[in-house]
Symmetry: C2
Subunit: 340 residues, 2 copies
Amino acid sequence: MATDPMRNPVLIELTRGALVESVHAGAIAVVRADGEVVAAVGDIARPIFPRSAIKPLQALPFLETGAADRFGFGAPEIALACGSHAGASPHVAGVTAMLAGAGLSVAALACGTHQPTDAATARELLRSGASPSPRHHNCSGKHAAMLATARHLTEPTEGYWRPDHPVQQRIRRALEDMTGCALGADALGIDGCSVPNWAIPEAGLARAFARLATGEGLSPARAEACRRIREACWVRPELVAGRGMLVTEVLQHLAGRVLVKSGAEGVYCGAFADRGLGFALKIDDGAKRAAEAVVVQVIASLHPAARQLGPDPVIANWRGLRVGEVRAADALEAMLAQLR
Amino acid sequence: MATDPMRNPVLIELTRGALVESVHAGAIAVVRADGEVVAAVGDIARPIFPRSAIKPLQALPFLETGAADRFGFGAPEIALACGSHAGASPHVAGVTAMLAGAGLSVAALACGTHQPTDAATARELLRSGASPSPRHHNCSGKHAAMLATARHLTEPTEGYWRPDHPVQQRIRRALEDMTGCALGADALGIDGCSVPNWAIPEAGLARAFARLATGEGLSPARAEACRRIREACWVRPELVAGRGMLVTEVLQHLAGRVLVKSGAEGVYCGAFADRGLGFALKIDDGAKRAAEAVVVQVIASLHPAARQLGPDPVIANWRGLRVGEVRAADALEAMLAQLR
């Protein structure tokens, strides 16, 4: 049993009629590249699994080893490496081309298989009676980049997903450098796509994203890799998530200013490039609906136009009647006031 | 902003590697028909929206007015009235027959429309290019029973879903009697299917289910209606939910002993008929995964074979690797110890 239960403040309330029906607690850190905490709510020192929100940092060795350049990969392939894509045809075609470019086949992917999250693509697969392939997995772009890196360095591609494989150890060291946090075996979890995911305090994640967005305090080579990663996300936002998805919408509307990446279990990481601030958030219960509501409010606190992005705060029922709303709780309002 | 935030103890932890990744808080009440609280955790005096968990009680006037008998309805129709069905063909056919039996058409249903939750039926609809109808809505059996009641009493069927319609006022009075709680306009919410849903403390919901399961303290007519409702759920459990769904599995495996009904936003109500105990639970954040894990543990505390029902407590990833587990937190363990 946990001796230190996760108990952060309520950030989001869902109402029905005059009452609060459900609540979501969580923690948020907003941090400068030098580690200064600018605004925070909840326990930002507790390690959390960043899940897919860490993908833009996991892509660093793909660029820094020269793997991307070796195979002629540019913004589309870098965006796919950073992305949790929807499995639509541009994503599947892009991953297929990355694997072919590195001389590999789909069989090399160890991410597993799930239905594409793009509804039209999922319907089309069902209609045609076809099964999804590992290329439809939202992490297949990251896996193709890991495989290309191993190929470039003549490391075995077999087992590239294991924690002790050089590809994963190189990523671990990049994460330690960027977050300023030591990542030992006690912090190791296995992600949904089978690669290692290290638990990292939100303060460290937010700091890493501030550095990713600004290059501050980084070697010239790393700063250049960070520049290429953020530019790729802003130039090809549709490859970082997909049609109508919040990450893609934010990257499209706030290109050059806001970075953002989602992770499973209610995580978001991102940065305000123009303010030199990184942020990280996790919802205690892992709810996507709450994470989306919070990240929209955080981004909108500095870029008010972002309020139109993301899910409707009105809760409507199956006949379209308004039955309640999704709203910021006091603790989130207080944190946003620190940030504005 | 809420001045009294919902802050119940953590009941469920989800681990990844050596760490707790996400948590779910909530409250549970286990109560006798006379109102005595036998075991509890969290705030069981705070009104919660029971959502569809209340359906077996909403069915009382359908029996007590004579509507069910008038139209020759028996266990299948009563089970559908109590159920949140999966929209598979037996459900759709049953609701169609109820409407026809009461001289009504599908157009009378005001529940709205959603895709059937039965995966095979949803796939088949997509393959054939057909759209779901209101009969596929999980609440269509309840709505057919409400319509049949209005028809039987020559009340208007138009607007049967409005809070001031006699059908809904009759249900409100039945809920007040069964729960022992006054239900005023301040407790009124609109459910996903557009009918009123009144917020009720978990202690009152659990008491109502203890009475439903035992008939204790009820008039002979109401006790008989309760007997017919619980028998219908035990005789036709596949009509109360659907293939592979937790409610159906519990009703099948523990017929005559355990009643259980799910609701949206992490609610379950039920009863141990053989012990004279009712129970109610809500997960603060509304998560189904946590509500299912808790209700299995509550039922298994008195019927250990129930541990095999419901979702696997092992968390596996897309390649089937074990990455963590869903487990009871200390507060839930302590409450289960009170119950055993």
